[in-house]
């Protein structure tokens, strides 16, 4: 029996409902929020700021440092013990690799850009949500970027190619499952994150990957809308406060 009908009635290429926001953490230099189904990520950017220890500083370029963390109550099973484990360290590293290609870190020599991501609840796809929220935060912080990065998991569940697997699909018992998180530069289609867990034939893998780009373009549109909304909010505030500084000087 193939997986013809998804358990939550989604179409094969349909993601769960998404919400994207920018500028939700006032203490941060930039912040982003991304929710897809019941997977929720908050990202904060601090920097560019001075890198310590100074021996790690690079006069040619700034350093991007990501930290992925699941809140203790965010897992599907028992409490997640706080502190970095192998999994969160690896995800933090692949996040850096996923985001680095769109950043112009040569503009920030000797500095560090810290990206902290916290997940209050997860239902699969958490590294993709983390990357998507982080890209919003980097743009909100005003860093030089040549495009966004958006991410989604695609996969093969019991011979069917689907987008944005949830926990139930990842744990599907009645057939083989391959879970393939993908991050992409939306305007070029370049892939900056690719992982796969599961058993799959090459043709199926390629068919699943073909589903990624349309979904990623929709996610990227939500990211851009979040940033636009953020600046509309700022403008509204400026007007409410009696006009911008520039207007005062005129």
């Amino acid at each position: 029996m193939a997986y013809n009908k998804r358990h939550d009635n989604r179409k094969p290429d349909e993601t769960r409902p998404i919400i994207a926001k920018a500028g939700i953490i006032p203490k941060a230099d930039g912040s982003g929020y991304f929710k897809i189904g019941n997977t929720e990520a908050y990202a904060a950017v601090y920097g560019p700021r001075e890198l310590h220890p100074r021996s790690k500083q690079d006069p040619k370029q700034g350093l991007l440092r990501c930290l992925y963390n699941m809140m203790p109550f965010s897992g599907q099973g028992n409490r997640v013990r706080p502190g970095p484990g192998r999994r969160s360290k690896e995800i933090s590293m692949v996040m850096e690799n996923a985001l680095r290609p769109v950043l112009d870190l040569e503009a920030y020599p000797n500095a560090v850009v810290d990206v902290f991501v916290e997940l209050p609840q997860t239902d699969a796809g958490s590294r993709c949500a983390a990357i998507t929220a982080a890209a919003i935060a980097l743009a909100d912080a005003g860093l030089k970027m040549r495009d966004m990065v958006a991410a989604v998991a695609v996969g093969v569940v019991d011979d069917a190619q689907v987008v944005d697997l949830d926990y139930e699909e990842e744990a599907w018992k009645e057939g083989e499952v391959a879970d393939i998180p993908v991050a992409m530069v939306p305007s070029t289609g370049e892939i900056t994150l690719l992982q796969m867990d599961g058993k799959v034939e090459k043709e199926q893998l390629l068919a699943a990957l073909a589903l990624a780009r349309p979904a990623i373009e929709r996610i990227a549109e939500a990211q851009r809308a979040a940033i636009r909304q953020r600046y509309e909010d700022v403008m509204t505030q400026v007007v409410a406060n009696g006009g911008s500084k520039a207007a005062d000087e005129e």
């Binding site: 953490i25 203490k27 601090y46 109550f73």
Partner: protein, 258 residues
Amino acid sequence: MNDAVKEHINQSLKKGVRLDGRALDEFRKISIETGVVATAEGSARVMCGETEIIAGVKMEVGKPFPDRPDSGVLMVNAELRPLSNPDFEAGPPDIESIETARVIDRGIRESKAIDEKSLCIKEGESVWMANVDVCPLNHDGNLIDIGALAAMAALKNARIPTLDKNGQPDYHAKTKQKLELSATPITITIVKIGENFLVDPTQDEMDSADARLTVASLEDGRLCSLQKGGSGALTLEEIERMIDLAVEKGSELRALIE
């Protein structure tokens, strides 16, 4: 922090003015949402001004402590993650995380609001362990009070999961059974800056404080935990004033989660 800001806070307070225009005994606007985390057994998001905290309850099954075979376990932990403030660093919990967690924990624990015997599943073998984790998303002061309020709101929101045939929790099948809470302890911190006593300090006010006193109190005005903080000293008269103010503010905040 910047000495000039501290000086400004001090000078303004001499005229009875706070930088954000509040009265000395006035909280920022508080909003509370419960049931915000699908994976937790109970959860709450509390915003107080720009301080925003998520608290979640995770119910696990474990072995009771040998000296208390018929008692479950309540644990409050605070994760002051670097996402929420530029002063927080990644790494193991620092002393501020630990103190925040322990002060919130003691306010709830010592109130005996949760009867730990009611968390017993089978004496000597298995008990419920209620883990409350307090996670700030944006830290602009008063983490102890807002964290404690979020923790209580999350505990009130919690539903116990069903047990499978191996006696392990089935997290996808919550019951309607709430945790038995017999009281609502509320934790309030009063800070002393010069001759003034303030509630709900922002981060700048906290950094300017000479001393603070955190007081957890109950509906009937009894106190269930105290913590003096900061390097300044307090007189007995000052402590009495601070306790009175904390109990008064405690009943205001209690009304928000009842």
